[in-house]
């Protein structure tokens, strides 16, 4: 008996929208390079390469006197503290914002708080730092507040999304069993989302360590401020020590954060 041989179904129709968008993106990149006054030839001349090598050679050897190492150590602690405190403040405000932003109090508060969170995270840390330094003066406080403001916008949005995506049944089940809305949230929804929130927090802390080092350049204290000072005086070996301290600090926090996130999401 001859049975018809089953054939493969037709592939889905090609979506030209994505191809057109990719083409437009490519055109934009080409146009960007074409319009910018990039002098590639000057960049790769022998003179330019020699000057760069001379500058880089000035960094070696890094300064290793005990006095300067101690100063660098305390600046590292200041950078670490700025990032830690900035992230902690961001968690507190982010969590508070995430409740209305997840629609728990209705559609209007959700839209309003999400708009506020958009504003907070759209402004880069450096701009926040400039604003905060005017308000709080030079030093680590302004940098900490700048990190907190930007990160609260990021974490508020991420926490709100986590709360919205949490399985609703456990909370509904507790409400059915007579738990108040607050108790049901704390017993059912928050514990579900806590590992994810912790993971986001640790990731943002990593980012904030790097950001805190850069914020120092605009006068927010820590390693960044030291780097700017020594670079502006062309004290390259001292600047090299500060850069190495930055790299070590970032690597240390990356490692700790990665291990903690793995433990949390296991």
């Amino acid at each position: 008996m001859n049975r018809p041989i089953p054939t493969m179904p037709k592939p889905p129709a090609r979506d030209w929208t994505i191809r057109i968008l990719m083409l437009l993106l490519l055109l934009l990149i080409v146009a960007s390079f074409a319009t910018l006054p990039l002098k590639w030839r000057e960049f790769f001349t022998v003179d330019a390469i020699n000057s760069t090598m001379e500058l880089l050679a000035g960094f070696a050897p890094p300064e290793t006197s005990s006095g300067f190492l101690a100063k660098t150590f305390w600046a590292s602690i200041e950078t670490l503290a700025m990032s830690g405190l900035g992230t902690l403040l961001a968690v507190i405000f982010g969590l508070a914002f995430s409740l209305p932003a997840s629609g728990r109090f209705g559609a209007a508060p959700r839209a309003a708080v999400r708009a506020l969170l958009n504003v907070l995270r759209s402004i880069p840390e450096l701009v926040w730092a400039s604003i905060m330094l005017i308000a709080a003066g030079l030093g680590p406080l302004g940098g900490t507040l700048a990190l907190a403001a930007h990160t609260a916008g990021v974490l508020g949005r991420l926490f709100a999304d986590s709360l919205e995506n949490a399985a609703p049944l456990p909370e509904q089940s507790l409400r059915t069993n007579g738990a108040s809305a607050t108790a049901a949230f704390f017993y059912a929804t928050l514990p579900q989302t806590l590992p994810q929130m912790m993971s986001y927090t640790l990731y943002r802390w990593e980012n904030n360590i790097r950001a805190a080092a850069i914020l120092g350049v605009v006068g927010a204290g820590g390693l960044g401020q030291m780097l700017k000072y020594h670079l502006s005086l062309f004290q390259m070996p001292l600047a090299a020590t500060v850069i190495i301290a930055m790299l070590l600090l970032v690597a240390l926090v990356d490692g700790v954060s990665f291990a903690m996130r793995r433990a949390l999401t296991r």
Binding site: T176, A183, Y187
Partner: protein
Amino acid sequence: MLELRQLSKSYNGRPVLDQLSWNFKAGEFVSIMGDSGVGKSTLLNLIAGLDTPDATAGASPIIVDGIPMSGLDDDAATKLRRARMGFIFQAFHVLPHLTLLQNVALPLLLNGLPTARAAEMLDAVGLAGREHDFPHQISGGQMQRVAIARALVHRPALVLADEPTGNLDPETADAILTLLQREIKATGACAIMVTHSQFAAKKTDRVLLLSSNGLKETTNVNPFAQ
């Protein structure tokens, strides 16, 4: 224990329940059967105060343990459920991040009662020694045992069960229903179980059929009894 008086519910003008009346006594285990969509789960939600019946002039259409449900606002209905009702769901609804003991102790914590009875209830449902296990470490049948312990731990006057054996194999379902029957008799609660299963209904004191004509007891003797 539970009185339904001319209870009606309609959605967008379409009547789902029409003028239901029934008295449920303490210590009674009743099953409610009926076709899909006839309003069995709606009836449970109304009894629990999770949904509101159609407005009626005069007396409250639902009275739980002497308390008219109609006069209760959301907070008062929540408190009534917390203190006097227990719930068992088809999908167990056991909280995955809490241990079995913490799950069972929840109604006690919510009611501000001592939590010692939680371990006793776990023992009663055959889970002694598993107090510190998490739900992912036990089977579906064991999870339903935890749900039964949780529903009864605070000695509720009324237990509402929505297809409690719907996700279980026949042997486990039989064990769960026997356990439910025993614990209901031990606590003196009134239990109302919505089910599609004739096998489950056999375990109850009486069977009510819900249809568009209302609630009707099929016979004084369980029609499925052998």
